[in-house]
Every structure is written in structure tokens, then in C-alpha cells.
Amino acid sequence: MQGDRERCLEAGMDGYLSKPIDRFELYVAVEGTPGKAGEMAPAESELFDRAALLDRLDGDTNLLEQILAVFLADCPARLAAVDAAMTTRHAAGLADAAHALKGAALNLSANRLADVAGALESAGHRGDLDAAPALVASLHREVTLLMELLA
């Protein structure tokens, strides 16, 4: 619950997790929010696991390029949906928009982006709009890194 987080942090805890444990929240709590400013550039395979995707496509490199192109084309609209939900402070909308981005990222084997989107989706489901802005900022950074890598 919202009040619990503040009380825990005030009492000197470093982090806060609500039960049942959500793997995306756990990831953020332990590893810190991925894509924090000033962090070292992540390895390419962390951003996008090309080998895993190609394996899932039965080695079809042509199809792989088509899927990357579609992902890149759809990404701005998906981010805009996240931003719109954030602006209107619509928690369920935020969860849905983050969910859509997570699904596409998982398909691509863009694992860091999927983790951040998953954490944001969980925050949306919990109605935790205080945790959301930092995750939305991370999401933007992850998408930028990925788009630079794939462009």
C-alpha cells in the first residue's frame, strides 16, 4: 500500500516490495531501475538478443529484419500511449500501455526494455503512480538505446 512504502523508507529500509512478489518489481528493487542516467552503456545482447530472436524465427533473417522494422515503426505510438496515461494519471491505462510494450519487447528478445515495461505494468496494476515517473523515464532511455542500436 502507498502509506506502507513511505513508512518503510522512513524507518530506514533501502527498498520496498509488496507481496505476492512480482518478478519485475523484484528485479528493479535488487538491480535498481535499469537504464538509470550515468550508468555504463549496457552490452548489446542485454538490449537485444539477436541470436535468441533468430532462433525463434527458425533462422529466417529476412523475417527478422521485417519484425525489427515493424517494432521500430510501432514504438513511438506505444511510448506515446504510456505518456498519455501518465499525464492523465490513469493507472489502468498505464498498465495496458506498458503491457503492450512489454509484449513486443519480449517477442523481440529486448529483455531490458521488457523488464522496465513489466515493472511499469506492475506499478499501474497496483495503482502506484508515485513509482511510475522514474520507470517511465527509464522506459524512454531504454527505447532510445534500443532504437539507436537497431537503426
Binding site: 532462433d55 523475417l63 510501432d74 528478445s109
Partner: protein, 203 residues
């Protein structure tokens, strides 16, 4: 070679539909993609595919709702339905199966799992199609049987049969009209002897 199985893939995420469609086409399926629930329903009711892979969360009509509509629809009730979900929870899976899904797939879809589950679906869909064909054949045969069934008034002398509207028909004409039987004309040995005698006696 059997005819390719028609499959509908419905998901608003284009990367998902591309991955699924490519795999299904490799397995000789005829794939159609729908980007939302309403378009999916339109295709399901007009083209009646043998299998449908439906995303759980879709604009306009979601996967579980589509499942229920399929099961309530007389002509679609036998369709093989796979629900696509990225929600791993037990309660969701149970809700999906209760809504009428035959099976489910978790996103991102694992290639081997997809192959295995889709082939189960293809087997069931093919059996379902054959079963429907057989039922159709049996129904047609049954209709023929009932048409020739019952009490037929026949003349004891010329063997004509009284037909509808109180007219009398030759037996061969009557049977030809009321069944798939056809006649090829010949002569039996007894009649042959009689005809021969008639000839010889100059008749």
C-alpha cells in the same frame, strides 16, 4: 496432401502476428491476421477457420469474450481455439479454459511449444472436419432411406405403384425418382424362355 488448415491469428501486436503467421505458414496453414476482436469475429463468422489463435487483451473484443461467442455460435462451436496470454497466473488460465479455449500459449511464444500445441490443434481440427463430413454423408443417406420407407401400394397384377396424387407409376420409374438407384435393362432366364417360345410359335 490434405487441404491447408485455415487459421485465424488475432492480436493487436504486429510482432506477435508476424512471428505466428510465419511459423504457421511453414506448417502448411492458410493464415489470416486480425488486429482487433471485432475484425476477428467478422472473419470467424464469414470464413469459419478450423483454428483460431486469440490474444487475451485486444481492442474492441477481448480473447475470452470471443471464446464464449464462438462456443455459443451453432456453426463455430467445434472450432479449435488457442488463447494467447502473457499473464502466467493460474486463475487467468482457468478463466481462459472456462471461457471455452481448448488450450493456451504464453507470450513470448516458445518455438517448440508453439509447434507442439499447434499440431495438437491441427489434429483435432482435421478430425472435427472429417467428423462433420461423415455426419453430412450419413444424414443424406438417412434421407434416402426414409424416402423409400413405409407402405407402398402396388398393383397385384401389373406391379405399378400408386404415387402421390393418386397416379400410378411403373415400379422402375417410381424407384428411380425416389432413390439414387438406376436401372439397366436386361432379361432373366425364365422370361427369355417364354419370349423364345412366343417367337417359335410365330407370336
Amino acid at each position: 496432401m490434405t487441404a491447408p488448415l485455415r487459421v485465424l491469428v488475432a492480436d493487436d501486436d504486429r510482432t506477435t502476428t508476424m512471428i505466428l503467421a510465419a511459423a504457421l505458414q511453414r506448417w502448411n496453414c492458410e493464415v489470416t491476421v486480425a488486429a482487433d476482436g471485432a475484425a476477428a469475429w467478422e472473419f470467424l463468422t464469414t470464413r469459419r477457420p478450423g483454428m483460431a489463435i486469440l490474444d487475451w487483451m485486444m481492442p474492441s473484443v477481448d480473447g475470452p469474450t470471443l471464446c464464449r461467442q464462438i462456443r455459443e455460435h451453432e456453426d463455430l462451436a467445434g472450432m479449435y481455439v488457442l488463447l494467447l496470454t502473457s499473464r502466467g497466473s493460474r486463475a487467468d488460465l482457468v478463466a481462459g479454459l472456462d471461457a471455452g479455449a481448448d488450450d493456451y500459449l504464453t507470450k513470448p511464444v516458445d518455438r517448440e511449444e508453439l509447434r507442439a500445441r499447434v499440431h495438437v490443434g491441427m489434429r483435432v481440427a482435421t478430425l472435427q472436419t472429417r467428423l462433420q463430413e461423415r455426419v453430412g454423408e450419413l444424414q443424406a443417406a438417412l434421407e434416402q432411406v426414409t424416402r423409400l420407407e413405409g407402405l407402398l401400394p402396388i398393383c397385384s397384377y401389373c406391379k405399378n405403384i400408386r404415387s402421390e396424387g393418386d397416379t400410378w407409376q411403373q415400379m422402375e420409374q417410381y424407384i428411380a425418382e425416389h432413390s439414387d438407384a438406376e436401372f439397366s435393362h436386361s432379361i432373366c432366364p425364365t422370361c427369355y424362355e417364354r419370349v423364345k417360345l412366343d417367337f417359335e410359335s410365330g407370336g
